[in-house]
Symmetry: C2
Subunit: 177 residues, 2 copies
């Protein structure tokens, strides 16, 4: 499966496309960071993000989109812009009927590094290793977008295994009753 | 001028259209509250809001859009959804090239009631009076959207008068030099 990971932001919006499936090596398809100038009005910046995400989906035809779940964190100066950018990214994906999953930063850190409190450098290093890249994707928003896509594929795989186990258990119960 | 005021929200998104100009009686064109169910995934709710705002702009052809400026307030449970809805509303208006203005809740309260700390009932009562309505628009999101549109027309008028005064002063300086 091909997954587009989006690390939303008004100033920098990371987009990373990863292909692969659970238990097999994953590969990088493309990665990019959309930037919009803080000198522009917010609506115009959001339209730039909308067009950028749309063009990226058009080009890479992902099977699913994984977006970072935004929380009202302590950094209130950026959180509103991040929420607005994530809303726009969701709308672009949803109106094309693409499945959308939200993963929290802790879930992403835990998935790629085994540690829900990993720092940016650890996440970047693990993304580099998992995708067998020559260098760490930069800036951090690029690595974070790829980490989201990786998380989505791995969690999807885990979820599929859990679903299969549940189905098997039900089958077992049913065959015994 | 005709202004669409939007009080953004995931659960209830108020939309009110007001026509008029500074110093003349304003009139209500239409008012509505878009509702989306909390049972639906956020991306789907945002698409419903996008379509609703688009249909409303299509129908009423406003000259400008006034949207409530969202702050990271204390009510963190709703603020992210509000920010996402406002982002979507901004994108819909901006991609049509409509002028967009953001007004804070205090600015709106001060504009319609003379008191930046007015409560919902006071704002509703003033909107009813200003637009000469038979009854207070309900729910509060409807009245708030109309208050935003009224604020926009009145602030626009004030801004135009300030601009004219500044231009006149410059003219005066120039004619003396």
């Amino acid at each position: 499966m091909r997954v587009l990971g989006i690390d939303p932001g008004l100033t920098r919006c990371g987009m990373g496309v990863v292909e692969g499936s659970m238990g097999r090596p994953l590969s990088l398809v493309d990665v990019n960071v959309l930037r919009t100038s803080a000198d522009l009005p917010v609506p115009q910046r959001l339209v730039t993000i909308e067009r950028g995400v749309e063009a990226w989906i058009e080009e890479h035809a992902p099977d699913a989109v994984a977006i970072e779940r935004v929380f009202a964190r302590s950094d209130v100066s950026t959180v509103m812009g991040t929420a607005q950018a994530s809303g726009v990214a969701m709308v672009v994906a949803a109106r094309r009927g693409l499945p959308i999953a939200l993963h929290t930063p802790s879930e992403v850190k835990a998935a790629v590094s085994g540690n829900g409190r990993a720092d940016k450098a650890q996440v970047g290093a693990m993304v580099t290793r998992i995708l067998r890249l020559d260098a760490m994707p930069k800036p951090a928003d690029a690595a974070d977008a790829l980490a989201l896509a990786i998380t989505h594929i791995w969690r999807g795989g885990a979820q599929a295994r859990i679903d299969a186990a549940v189905a098997a258990a039900r089958q077992h119960v049913r065959s015994r009753s």
